[in-house]
């Protein structure tokens, strides 16, 4: 009995850590760069698939891939923002128009990334085994890979939260999220900060993808579901609140783990039910304004 509960809790924390990461990334992109990035899940997929390739073909340790996927995703995100979204920003007649057109552009991006990935990797489901050694915790056995993933997700999530809350760049980010014009007047290089945040959000997605690949199988179509989950977590936590996404991620992870135990096919349905409940009762979310 205790073992089952521990199993569910650990699985929930693991899922929660991953959800927190991807939700914080999306929240950063929407909260600061004001881009509702529908292709967020595709960056997760790229992180996962790249790690699979690096490990199975080049035998590079997945944990080392953290240092590769993160920066690569960041650069990709940064460049995409500087070229595509920046251009949309200047040609949009209002913030509302930019929100719509950037969302649609990211919809296009989703199809581009997913199909390029399909051309390269094919549609098969891939997986690899790394650190699948059982570890004994209070009488229950857990895969070391899952514990490592859990640890990494929480560590990165916390590090990121502290970065935004404590550092100077973090302050600039928060200022830009509040009021881009004033922040710009105060000497914050606004173009840079927006692209930086977008890139950072992409990096978190890439890292999350890499962590996911350590525990679960991956394939080129995996991104969509993660994007949807990230969206739900962001709403639950509160639109624009990064701490909210962190907490919301763990909440949903634990709920997902419990629901999966009862019936594995229903976790997305459960998340949507929470989504619906929130929209009815408190659309601003837990920590939203």
């Amino acid at each position: 009995m205790i073992v089952t509960i521990l199993d569910i809790v650990i699985a929930g924390l693991l899922l929660g850590g991953l959800y927190a990461l991807i939700a914080m990334g999306l929240s950063l992109q929407y909260g600061v760069a004001r881009v509702f990035n529908i292709s967020h899940g595709e960056f997760i997929m790229l992180g996962g698939m790249t790690t699979w390739t690096l490990y199975t073909m080049f035998h590079i340790n997945p944990l080392v891939c953290l240092a590769i996927c993160g920066p690569l995703a960041f650069i990709l995100g940064y460049v995409i923002h500087r070229t595509l979204f920046k251009r949309l920003l200047t040609s949009s007649e209002s913030p509302g128009a930019f929100e719509s057109s950037s969302m649609l552009a990211s919809f296009g991006l989703l199809f581009i990334i997913q199909n390029m990935a399909s051309l390269y990797w094919g549609p098969e489901i891939r997986g690899y085994s790394y650190l699948a050694i059982p570890v004994n915790l209070a009488g229950a056995l857990f895969g070391a890979n899952r514990l490592v993933t859990l640890g990494c997700a929480i560590a990165i999530g916390l590090a990121f939260y502290l970065f935004v809350a404590r550092t100077r760049t973090g302050k600039a980010i928060r200022a830009a999220a509040q009021d881009p014009t004033t922040a710009g007047l105060m000497g914050v290089n606004i173009n840079n900060v927006l692209a930086l945040c977008f890139g950072l959000g992409a990096a978190m997605a890439g890292i999350a993808g890499m962590l996911i690949s350590m525990c679960y199988p991956v394939n080129v179509a995996m991104g969509l579901e993660y994007t949807i989950i990230a969206m739900i977590v962001v709403v639950v936590g509160g639109l624009g609140s990064i701490p909210g996404s962190f907490i919301g991620g763990f909440m949903l992870g634990l709920i997902g783990s419990i629901v999966s135990y009862i019936d594995p096919g229903l976790s997305l349905v459960a998340y949507y039910l929470i989504f619906i409940l929130l929209l009815l009762v408190r659309p601003t979310g837990i920590l939203g304004k």
Partner: protein, 307 residues
């Protein structure tokens, strides 16, 4: 605007298609008509109100599944109406829930809706019916064609009358400034929800009709986010303001898909994604808007094309 005589001529041409065209052409034109329905329905709501719906695939899929479930028991026209009704009920629910809130919630909810319904149906089928997917009653191509054509004509008539009525004005005002519209006496939530439901009903009808051609459907086949993507692509590329923008966009991409899908399944979707981005960046009023601007002589930003 197009003269009634021209429209009538086109209608006659289309109605008599099977007399002079090959079966392949009839099938192709049916696909084009289906896409026009999806795109024009999408534009009916998302065009004037600027609330971007990403749920077209959900309504289309509900229509498909209605045909799969009911096709064996009921005559086809009834099935089509059932599909339309089921989709509009879903839309009423989604609309009542999310259209009271900011547009971003609506976009998010509609985006995930396709996956949600897919998961629900899969779960239900595995748990209760034990089957995966269903077989659909076969119907001949000509019947499918005429049903699709009739549905499109109905849609165009409905869209026309809405635009000319005070509700067309209300829809446009919602897109321009929703708060001002509400203060001028427009019940913005009701107008949005009802229009959304109407647009969904036509998508459901189209789904119910086309399902009979696919013979076998399962949740993966019926609920593809591609069908949320295509109407958006076609509308933006063709031009959202004019009546014939979506028609143009649909024809172009339906034909391209037909030509490319067998040999280049991933390439064509990639291409479409690229075209969407280019259209968003460089063709704000779509192809139709571009032609209009060129006609007026010069690249100066023309008026928002919306008659």
């Amino acid at each position: 605007m197009w003269r009634p005589g021209l429209l009538l001529a086109i209608l006659v041409l289309l109605a008599s298609l099977r007399l002079y065209a090959s079966t392949y052409t009839v099938i192709l034109v049916t696909s084009i008509l289906m896409y026009i329905i999806l795109t024009q329905s999408w534009v009916l709501f998302s065009g004037p109100t600027r609330y971007i719906s990403l749920a077209s695939a959900a309504f289309f899929g509900v229509g498909i599944y209605s045909a799969a479930v009911l096709g064996m028991h009921l005559p086809l026209p009834v099935v089509v109406i059932a599909g339309a009704l089921a989709s509009s009920c879903l839309a009423l629910f989604v609309g009542a829930l999310t259209l009271r809130l900011r547009g971003i919630y609506f976009a998010m909810f509609t985006f995930g809706l396709v996956e949600l319904i897919k998961h629900l149906l899969l779960w239900y089928e595995i748990k209760f019916t034990g089957t995966r997917g269903r077989f659909v009653v076969l119907v001949d191509n000509n019947t499918i064609y005429y049903l699709m054509l009739a549905t499109l004509v109905a849609l165009l008539l409905v869209a026309y009358f809405i635009r000319r009525s005070k509700y067309g004005l209300a829809l446009q005002s919602i897109g321009e400034d929703e708060e001002a519209a509400a203060h001028t006496g427009v019940n913005v939530t009701a107008v949005k929800v009802i229009t959304f439901a109407i647009s969904a009903s036509f998508m459901g009808a189209a789904g119910a009709i086309i399902a009979t051609r696919w013979t076998y459907v399962d949740p993966y086949i019926a609920f593809k986010s591609l069908f949320s993507f295509m109407p958006v692509l076609m509308a933006i590329f063709g031009g959202m303001g004019q009546f014939y923008g979506p028609v143009l966009g649909s024809a172009v991409f339906a034909y391209l898909e037909e030509v490319l899908i067998t040999r280049f399944p991933y390439h064509y979707m990639l291409l479409f994604g690229v075209i969407l981005m280019i259209a968003i960046l460089y063709l704000p009023d779509g192809l139709v808007g571009l032609v209009q601007r060129l006609r007026r002589g010069g690249w100066a930003r023309g008026q928002h094309a919306n008659t």
